[in-house]
Symmetry: C2
Subunit: 281 residues, 2 copies
């Protein structure tokens, strides 16, 4: 997905949100916004938003001196979602279509996104998503691909959401490789967050090699690229990964909630719609 | 009111909103956002937001070549509110406290603000405001000042809202001077808009001399300053005028809806609260 003009004020908002978590120093924060403001003219609109996000959050780290502003928030979100795990397992075990219920939970977890959201209620989101209609629902195709797959590459998104990913991975019943960001960016999951969420019990965890808040192939390492090429099934969680991968030419299944009007419009759905969308299938 | 850091991304959003109404040329719009981005570092945070807004909207006019992007929208809003006028007069005429009901309507009209809002429903707003509790309610003091006043300076805000201002002016029963912006900025009322709203039937209309989307005394003309100094009662509508006048040392009564979290916080109320607040009273 290309960068839209509406993404530009949003980048500035994101910088301020992350900056305010990192520091109370109003002068540093003004410097941060001034720097982001000066970056606008050089942002190539054909780039994907996570490529620009990479530069923006780099600037946040540089000016505030804080490498991982969302560290404590990520810990809290993981603790909160881990506490929901037993109840969610019960719901899945008594549901008619366990994989579909697990997909619904995995998308509910996608609301834990500080790139887009300021506030959310994860328990409410789980409840809503149990009944919510999908705006795009390539489930039948997904099951076909799943059945034939030996290896699954599962590209994670946010910390905390990872607990819900674990639940889905358990239902997939296949050999899964779970992909995380290389270093902290926004509240995206790193290896440490994935392990804290128990992903290591159900999947191999690898880094895509990127510090961008999304998966952009030319910023990824060779190991990831090899696995992306060869995986029987690729599952991509969330907006940042969609933005980076939506124009690639291999089959990918995207699980996400369209949390901003721009991405909703790009996909052709409404804001807050939930999506299970396959490309090149 | 000073400029808060949160105002800076908002200025960029406002520039894009006005720019998109003025032109479909994506390159011009990118240039506009780049220019606004470069302005950020030079924005003095001790300035009031309308001072910066003045520069931002000047840039919108300069880069898009469109002097009054909201011209058609303003016409529509005036037509829509004029259509409500008879019904609102009926409600006032059958209400126990006519002035208070007219104040409620005048505040409801303040929702017609494209600086803050993308969407609103004016009829719904009128209904809501009939019952809504005021977060600050200096009504008793207002009535005292009104009773003693011979001359009232009424500083208008948005086009369309002006029809509701007319209704309040009719209930005040005093000699009123109605103040408009000198040239079009956002959807703020100009002399033309005030006349189209029928204000000329109930008040003298003057320009404050400013192109800023708010009243900043050092940008106003001598005629306005003289009247501001000498008026028995000053009524100020909306956020932009509050932002410009909240630290002045003469009595002013502000009527507004706190439409953004920043101004709500500055006043000490919650977002969407309605306010009748007097200073130096």
């Amino acid at each position: 997905m290309k960068t839209y003009l509406e993404c530009l004020p949003c980048f500035m908002q994101q910088a301020l949100r992350a900056g305010r978590i990192a520091t109370n120093d109003e002068k540093k924060l003004k410097d941060l916004l001034s720097s982001v403001g000066e970056m606008i003219k050089d942002i190539p609109m054909q780039n994907t938003p996570p490529e620009t996000g990479d530069a923006i959050y780099r600037k946040v780290r540089e000016i505030t001196g804080v490498n991982d502003p969302y560290k404590e928030i990520k810990k809290q979100n993981i603790a909160e979602t881990l506490a929901l795990y037993p109840e969610m397992k019960n719901i899945i075990n008594s549901s008619e279509d366990k994989i579909l219920t697990a997909i619904r939970f995995a998308i509910a977890g996608n609301v834990i996104d500080f790139g887009v959201n300021k506030e959310f209620d994860i328990q409410q989101e789980v409840k809503n998503n149990l009944e919510k209609e999908f705006a795009i629902f390539d489930y039948h195709k997904f099951l076909q691909h799943l059945e034939k797959a030996n290896s699954i590459l599962y590209i994670g998104d946010n910390a905390g959401e990872t607990v819900f990913d674990k639940i889905l991975i358990e239902e997939l019943g296949k050999q899964v490789t779970f992909v995380v960001r290389d270093i902290p960016v926004i509240n995206d999951a790193t290896k440490e967050d994935a392990i804290a969420s128990g992903i290591d019990e159900v999947a191999e965890i690898i880094s895509s090699g990127t510090s961008a808040p999304g998966t952009i192939l030319n910023l990824c390492n060779d190991d990831f690229l090899e696995r992306f090429k060869n995986a029987d099934l690729v599952i991509s969680k969330g907006q940042g990964n969609y933005e980076g991968l939506s124009n690639e030419d291999r089959p990918v299944f995207f699980l996400l909630k369209a949390k901003c009007p721009i991405i909703a419009n790009d996909i052709g759905v409404k804001e807050n719609d939930i999506i299970l969308k396959g490309i090149n299938i």
